[in-house]
Symmetry: C2
Subunit: 147 residues, 2 copies
DNA sequence: GTTACTGCAAAGTCTTTGCATGCGG
DNA sequence: CCGCATGCAAAGACTTTGCAGTAAC
């Protein structure tokens, strides 16, 4: 092998457009939505179309270079981290945090046995209140409590 | 308390429409989509509108009488089982199975500590191949293998 | 020359919303 | 009467697709 970001198959692999999309996802610490990726990518390559962003994301996803995360019915977000990991989602502000529990991976076998499914992957999501929102709420409560 | 399915608040609680929607969700062993619920509910009450189905589902969800499940960017499905439980989703046919691992609940505390989120709920989903699809694939492979 | 990606616009899927109507308290 | 839910249609958010043009192999 050669570059580490090479894919085979009939296609043209990493076209300039796909590289821009990949770069945007990789250079962001956040988990961007397609719309955000589109905006950022257009700053680099103004001719880029929405369709190409979606096509590129689908391609990159299938090539294992990015990961798609979906919650609720909102927009998908895209994650540069493709290794298995868990997520915490703030029910107040929507903040999304990556973390990893070794125990989750262990649960996959248990879950497979219980469900009789042939396991492929396992996803754990904690819904809760992030530290920032938690602090903000305590401040509010304290103020209210003083009335 | 009285009937067990009573909610307070300004509103009119369980209107006939909401009861039909609830009944459809409760009487199905499957995890129906809004469209399926709409179709089934209309058979009982033909005047029901799509908007009312969605409004009712939102209401029932907030009242804790049904649970919404979302995967990917497809349609939400609705679950009569509101207690915490895990899901297995077939990547071939989309079949959705409920099961419950006590270990998942235990993971919530670990996840909360790691993420520093105030925990509210935890969701575990196993992606894999359901028994039916698994069997179908083995049949196909065996045939192919014999060529 | 064939294959496949791009870019545009249009269509598609799922969900929510504005508004007039009408029932229930 | 007033408030809220209903029902209709229209709009909204997000994603996919059809098609012509073009670049890669």
């Amino acid at each position: 092998m050669s570059s580490g970001t090479e894919i085979q198959g009939g296609g043209r692999a990493l076209t300039p457009q796909r590289e821009v999309v990949l770069r945007v996802v990789r250079e962001s610490a956040e988990h961007l939505t397609a719309a955000e990726i589109y905006a950022a990518a257009r700053r680099i390559r103004p001719s880029l179309s929405y369709a190409t962003v979606y096509n590129s994301l689908r391609y990159l996803k299938e090539a294992g270079l990015v990961r798609e995360i979906t919650f609720g019915n909102g927009a998908s977000r895209y994650d540069r981290e493709t290794a298995r990991h868990d997520h915490a989602l703030c029910t107040r502000c929507g903040a999304l945090l990556d973390f990893d529990l070794a125990e989750t991976a262990a649960l996959m076998r248990l879950a497979a046995r219980r469900s009789r499914f042939k396991p492929e992957s396992i996803h754990l999501t904690l819904m809760g209140v992030c530290p920032a929102c938690s602090a903000a709420e305590q401040r509010r409560t304290r103020r209210k409590g003083a009335r």
